[in-house]
């Protein structure tokens, strides 16, 4: 395929604005093989049919489009993750494209998240094609949305295709716009190899499958390649492109193409997203710009609910790490929770995704401690330490000062909720920067916020205080000095290390009180009274009491239905198993996460 007949692009859209529906339509309306490949292979029609219906699950898919101009085009549609946690991954995916289709909901208009990604696409010099989706909705206002796109983003949008991906209206306009407006890739197939890694996955048979965009040169089976940042060198075993739902091997990938290669690589850490692949024997002079080593922003402890499953958790984390270079973990021990791991994530969503995968795919029952950001602690001896676990905070007498990470946050909100959202930002120690009205009814609020104030329940609070209308985007700004203290929780006079957290001195009392109240709800009554206390150092700042249980007796005998009685007792016993024994108090696992849900509005 000639370079001028290749289009590499992605779709940018806010959640629910119809990205995957449009992707489905594009796959449906195109073929998966070029006419030459069709002749070369005897295809099972059933297979083909099945392939065409598949939603994009992989990060990329290649389809073949017969344009109205009579020519055949290769479309490489590259998926971009849709969350602020994955900003860096998004930027690398964009760097693999030459254009982007921007889907905007005809009723909802532009959202903060969309805006951030559009700006990022423009920064990468991508040609952005706006598309107005859901025009058949009764509440659709395409004209207003077109104006908004022109005003806010500064994109010409008057000839934007007005479509309904769901009901298959005007999809061909989108396909033609891709052919006409997105530039063909450039690059010399004979130059030294220079390819961008935009994703990689681990396959137990093939090893790591590396997703690349070839910028210069050609990669083929047998090429000895080097990853320029990690330095790993390997011989290519297979190259190919992305069929819908499967990998299709081919002979070579040359400048302008998107595809994959495998090389018996055992660890995704050797193939970091953003790294440049070059030839080991004929290397290019410099790597592609923009590579960053990803850093964990949020840390938490993960423990198996049943200590016997520690090995299982370790194996599962190891497997997930094969596929996720941004996941970090190291063993740690908690007095309360036993043996587990301190894990680092890109953000809270990333944490939740990993947690869910561990529970669902690996069938593990987990106890997760409150997430924490990385603090910097300047000690009196002049050293500076990174603190990822509140338990490791040095004695206050050894601390000169502490710093916490700050973010620049952009919150897009409709004007009626500006008040409540500003209030929320103030409560979370936000520093007001500016407000920008993007149209009569909407504005972007800019705040500097401490990261530790937004990793807990900020998203939830934002949504509930704006009836779901506010959207957040943020970027790490750096570290600032702050008055931080460690808040400890004592249950029945015993300190529970897994419940300790770092908090700003001014909100310590409030947080301590709420934490005690929450734990009172979570901890079941025991045969004795249980005091729950919050303390800073040796000073108790809040207290609640769980009253003693007086009665738990089954009076009835259910006739001869002993099975029913057994089930009741088993449930009781099972409930106890899901508890953690701290001293002589049993604490349910979810109590350890309760610190996350303290916003009670």
């Amino acid at each position: 395929m000639k370079q001028e007949n290749i289009r590499n692009f992605c779709i940018i859209a806010h959640i629910d604005h119809g990205k995957s529906t449009l992707a489905d339509r594009i796959i449906e309306k195109t073929g998966t093989l070029t006419s030459r490949e069709m002749q070369a292979q005897v295809l099972d029609n059933m297979d083909l049919e099945r392939e065409r219906g598949i939603t994009i699950k992989a990060q990329a898919v290649r389809v073949i489009y017969q344009s109205q101009n009579g020519q055949e085009y290769v479309f490489n549609l590259i998926d971009t993750p849709g969350h602020v946690d994955f900003n860096y991954e998004v930027s690398r995916s964009l760097a693999a494209c030459d254009g982007a289709v921007l889907v905007v909901d005809a009723a909802q208009g532009i959202e903060a998240q969309t805006l951030a990604n559009v700006y990022m696409a423009i920064d990468h010099d991508l040609e952005v094609i706006p598309v107005i989706n859901k025009i058949d909705l009764p509440s659709a206002e395409p004209e207003r949305v077109i104006e908004e796109i022109e005003d806010v983003i500064g994109l010409e949008a008057h000839d934007a295709p007005q479509i309904s991906a769901k009901n298959d209206i005007n999809i061909d306009q989108v396909l033609e716009a891709i052919v006409e407006r997105i530039p063909a890739p450039q690059g010399d197939p004979n130059a030294p190899l220079k390819a961008l890694i935009f994703d990689s996955i681990y396959d137990s048979y093939k090893g790591v499958i590396v997703f690349v965009r070839i910028k210069e040169g050609t990669i083929r089976v047998g090429t000895q390649v080097r990853m320029m940042a990690t330095g790993a060198e390997v011989g290519v075993v297979e190259v190919g492109y992305f069929g819908a739902g499967k990998f299709i091997p081919c002979d070579e990938l040359s400048a302008g193409m998107v595809g994959y290669f495998t090389a018996s690589i055992k660890n995704v850490r050797d193939t970091m997203v953003g790294d440049t692949v070059t030839s080991a024997t004929n290397p290019c002079d410099e790597p592609l710009p923009g590579y960053k080593k990803v850093q964990s922003m949020v840390f938490c402890g993960m423990y198996p609910a049943d200590g016997a499953h520690y090995e299982d958790l370790r194996d599962a984390l190891e497997k997930l790490k094969l596929n996720d270079a941004s996941l970090n973990y190291e063993p740690e021990t908690s007095v309360a929770l036993g043996f587990g791991f301190r894990c680092g994530f890109l953000g809270l969503l990333h944490l939740e995704i990993i947690e869910e995968r561990l529970e669902r795919e690996y069938n593990l029952d987990l106890v997760t401690t409150a997430p924490s950001v990385v603090y910097k602690v300047k000690k009196t001896d002049g050293t500076m330490i990174d603190l990822t676990n509140p338990t490791n905070l040095p004695d206050p007498s050894e601390i000169e000062y502490m710093e916490e990470p700050m973010v620049e946050a952009e919150i897009m909100v409709t004007s009626e909720y500006i008040g409540p959202i500003m209030e929320l930002c103030q409560e979370r120690r936000g520093v007001y920067k500016e407000i920008e009205y993007i149209e009569a009814t909407r504005a972007i609020l800019r705040y500097d916020l401490p990261l530790n104030e937004i990793i807990y329940d900020f998203f939830d609070a934002l949504k509930s205080r704006s009836r779901g209308y506010a959207a957040l985007d943020y970027e790490l700004k750096g570290y600032e000095r702050s008055k931080l203290v460690k808040l400890d929780i004592l249950i029945n006079h015993e300190e529970v290390d897994a419940l300790s957290f770092i908090v700003h001195a001014d909100s310590a009392y409030e947080r301590g009180r709420k934490m005690c109240e929450k734990l009172k709800e979570e901890i079941p009554r025991h045969l004795f009274e249980i005091p729950i206390q919050a303390a800073i150092g040796s000073k108790i700042i809040a207290r609640e009491t769980v009253k003693a249980l007086r009665k738990d007796v089954l009076a009835k005998c259910y006739g001869g239905d002993i099975t029913r009685k057994r089930k009741l007792l088993e449930k009781q016993k099972e409930g106890k198993k899901r508890m953690r024994q701290i001293g002589n108090v049993e604490i349910p696992q979810k109590a350890f996460m309760s610190v996350l849900k303290l916003d009670d509005r």
């Binding site: 009076a555 001869g560 009781q572």
Partner: protein, 411 residues
């Protein structure tokens, strides 16, 4: 000779009580006869299998067995005598034993709802060989009875009780309920005092448990806060709100019951059961001691030689084929037998005998439960009395927690 207990379930009621989650139907008068036919077929089905076993107790429960016309009950008893080894009871009714005041060896109970029986029915039961009546009274307070959805009054009970005595019943139980919506210590003392004047041989005092799927469960909401504690209330459809007693009140009521009944000559022999010595319900004790029993009728449970099974809960299916099971029969493992031995046996105030354990399982109880027993003893939940291990009062208060400890973790 091997022994067997029989349970016969009658799944019909005049109206469903608001707290009831047993399998029973109101408005199924049409099905009475067909159901009894099915019961008789089920008895024939088991005739051969249990031919060589002596029937130790019979219990007709429900639902409301006394809702059936007397002739249908007689068909059931006839079929019983025809298919099972029950001769002694039958002989008794010929007057021989009655005159000598000798208690028969087979206890034969039937549950009666005071709103559904009269003297002629009771007379028919007595003549059919039934020798123990269990009256479901629950409370003597009109307001509480109404709240529960009972169809009878306290006066109905008095009349029935006197009729039962007159036709000859010398072993009568009265069922009462504690922790009722709107109940307090005063109203409970009233109920217990009034029942005491009739000198029943046996009193069961169960605590109300609000089960899922019942009216009460649907009507239960956060009521109001009394002295800092939020109490649940039952919000009746007529707009009345009946608060449920607090745990403390319920325990006070429980201990008051025990104290008062013991002063009146009753002995607490199980968590919720009191009897004049010699009148303990043999049928129920059989469950706790893991005797073999055969459950007949809709959704009835059985256990024979450590195999448990259960009949279908589908009325039409049962009438079609009364031998249909609800689920696969289950052979109990030794582990499960041990667990049952403990969690059932400990309900009895005398507890379990360590010697019995050894005889059953051929190993010392401490080998299996040593650690659990030590822990529970240290916590004051169990106590030792000669060969027996039993729950303390404190152990009874939280018996669900205690009994759950005897479930053995899988290896």
């Amino acid at each position: 000779m091997k022994e067997l207990e029989l349970y016969i379930h009658i799944p019909f009621c005049a109206q469903k009580c608001h707290y009831c989650d047993f399998v029973s139907f109101a408005d199924k008068t049409d099905a009475f006869e067909e159901y009894v036919n099915a019961l008789c077929r089920e008895m024939e089905y088991y005739k051969e299998r249990f031919a060589e076993q002596r029937i130790k107790t019979v219990y007709i429960g429900g639902g409301t067995p006394s809702l059936l016309p007397a002739d249908l009950i007689l068909r059931i008893t006839d079929s019983l005598y025809k298919n099972f080894n029950l001769t002694e009871t039958k002989e008794k009714r010929k007057g021989l034993f009655l005159q000598k005041k000798i208690r028969p060896t087979t206890e034969f109970s039937m549950e009666c709802n005071p709103g559904t029986v009269d003297k002629s029915k009771l007379d028919a039961y007595w003549k059919a060989g039934i020798n123990r009546i269990s009256f479901g009274l629950q409370s003597t307070i009109e307001d509480e009875l109404r709240t529960l959805g009972r169809i009878h009054t306290y006066e109905d009970f008095i009349r029935c009780f006197e009729d039962a005595r007159e036709v000859g019943f010398d072993n009568i139980n009265v069922d009462l309920m504690q922790a009722l919506p709107g109940q307090d210590m005063i109203s409970w003392q009233m109920t217990l005092g009034q029942v005491g004047t009739w000198h029943p041989e046996h009193i069961s005092a169960y605590s109300l448990i609000i089960e899922e799927g019942t009216d009460f469960h649907q009507w239960m909401k956060k009521g109001k806060t009394i002295s800092g504690e939020e109490r649940n209330g039952i919000f009746l459809p007529n707009g009345e709100v009946k608060l449920l007693p607090s745990e403390e009140e319920e325990r006070d009521i429980y201990y008051f019951t025990k104290e008062m009944l013991e002063k009146s000559g009753y002995k607490q022999y199980e968590i919720s059961n009191y009897a004049v010595p010699g009148f303990e319900c043999q049928h129920n004790i059989g469950y706790w001691k893991r005797e073999n029993y055969l459950g007949l009728g809709l959704n009835a449970s059985s256990m024979a030689d450590n195999v448990r099974w259960k009949n279908t809960a589908d009325l039409a299916a049962y009438i079609q084929d009364p031998t249909q099971a609800a689920e696969e029969e289950k052979k109990l493992s030794v582990k499960e037998q041990m667990e049952e031995f403990m969690f059932l046996g400990l309900r009895l105030r005398d507890g379990i005998s360590q010697t019995d354990f050894v005889n059953c399982f051929h190993q010392d109880i401490t080998l299996v439960y040593g650690e659990v027993l030590d822990d529970l003893y240290d916590q004051g939940m169990i106590t030792y009395e000669e060969d027996n291990i039993k729950l303390t009062d404190k152990g009874i208060d939280v018996s669900n927690r205690v009994l759950a400890e005897f479930l053995i973790d899988p290896e």
